[in-house]
Symmetry: C2
Subunit: 218 residues, 2 copies
DNA sequence: ACCTGAACACCGTTCAAGT
DNA sequence: ACCTGAACACCGTTCAAGT
């Protein structure tokens, strides 16, 4: 008389590919209850599998989180690129559209975005493919800046450096917005537009930009 | 009238003022090993006190963290204000100096800054005095913006809104910098200067700024 | 009123053992 | 090769009991 088993068809593995199933289950969990409440026991239970089965596919919990982050950067990459493309066909400012896409992605995928920048995996050096994927997303920003420079719409400085300047802005909007410090979702959207607009105004090539120093004039 | 209050036999297991001692010990711990590794057992052990003694003075661990955050906002407030004051006496741009002070504070007190914006206490509404203290620090930025507007050096828009725009930038620089994504400490400083400079250039009143406005909120 | 120590319900991780 | 179940060393928190 066997006790009632959960789900174990054919006496074989519950999932053909447990690795991707674990990632899928973890994604659902963090989307529903947040990253901080993600437990290995929970993802195991959700798949009808032991809570230690995960260790056959991932070194530890951090490795699982790094994998989630990697997947996040992949779709993030796509999202940013398609925003640039659409801006091009719609005759809109590519950088501004990308900035808005950035903030919108973070707000729509808060747990995933937090995972991508989580402290527990922030040393991207420990996860080489994660670093590669993150660099790929960052490259969209750098390339767009370079293109805008060629078109003469952005001041000619190191594109990677300008990319970091812009990145800081949208990342700040995203994190403060997620923390609820910038008001409603609608407030955040308008604020992001405002921030991007201000930043890109300051980056437009004009003699005044190059003459101004730290101390104020007038 | 010397000495008041004498109700505890000195030299026993009773601590003179355990409440502040707990805060002090917790601060040392997070500064040394980071917020995530802060355990109530550890702070108790450090004071030679039971690990549950804390519950006589704080509702739970979140309340302790909120208290740490509150203290953080207090000195943060002071830091920002004195940066503005020094800029005034030294004829420098107050907003830019404040922005630099912001990023420098975060980099020099990483664990404390992270605690101040920790997800576990991000709903400042649960801790009213924390919200008050945070608003106090934010007010320094708003007031400085208003002063700059009166001097005609900043575009005339809602100061609170402009403050959020600037806040997002420096917060993004701080968090990305702490995560190690912006290079060395020196790189971050220069990047922050760059970001602030760009932002404030975009905020200077000039007809050009109004030609490309984002749709206004109403 | 303040603090303790045991107890409880969690957690990530390891490991010998099963299939 | 893949997975299990017990075990281990941690957590935060509660509670009856001590002073």
């Amino acid at each position: 008389m066997p006790v009632k088993l959960k789900r174990k068809p054919k006496g074989t593995y519950h999932h053909p590919d447990l690795q991707v199933a674990l990632v899928e289950a973890a994604l659902q969990t963090i989307r529903k209850t947040g990253v901080d409440s993600l437990t290995l026991r929970d993802v195991g239970l959700r798949l009808g599998v032991s809570r230690t089965a995960l260790y056959r596919h991932f070194k530890d919990k951090s490795a699982l989180l790094a994998r989630l982050a990697l997947e996040g950067f992949r779709v993030f990459h796509q999202t940013l690129q398609s925003a640039v493309d659409q801006a091009h066909t719609n005759k809109k400012d590519p950088l501004e559209e990308m900035g808005m896409a950035y903030v919108n992605f973070a707000m729509a995928n808060q747990s995933h975005y937090k995972t991508m920048f989580s402290d527990s995996i922030c040393t991207w050096g420990d996860y080489p493919d994660l670093a590669v994927e993150a660099d790929g997303a960052f490259a969209v920003l750098v390339n767009t800046i370079a293109a805008e420079q060629r078109a003469g719409r952005i001041i000619a400085e190191d594109p990677a450096r300008l990319a970091q300047v812009i990145w800081a802005g949208v990342h700040g909007l995203a994190t403060l917005g997620m923390a609820g410090h910038l008001g409603s979702h609608n407030d955040i959207i308008h604020l992001a537009r405002h921030h991007c607009h201000t930043l890109f105004t300051g980056l437009r090539p004009t003699p005044r930009n190059t003459t101004r120093r730290a101390k104020s004039t007038s």
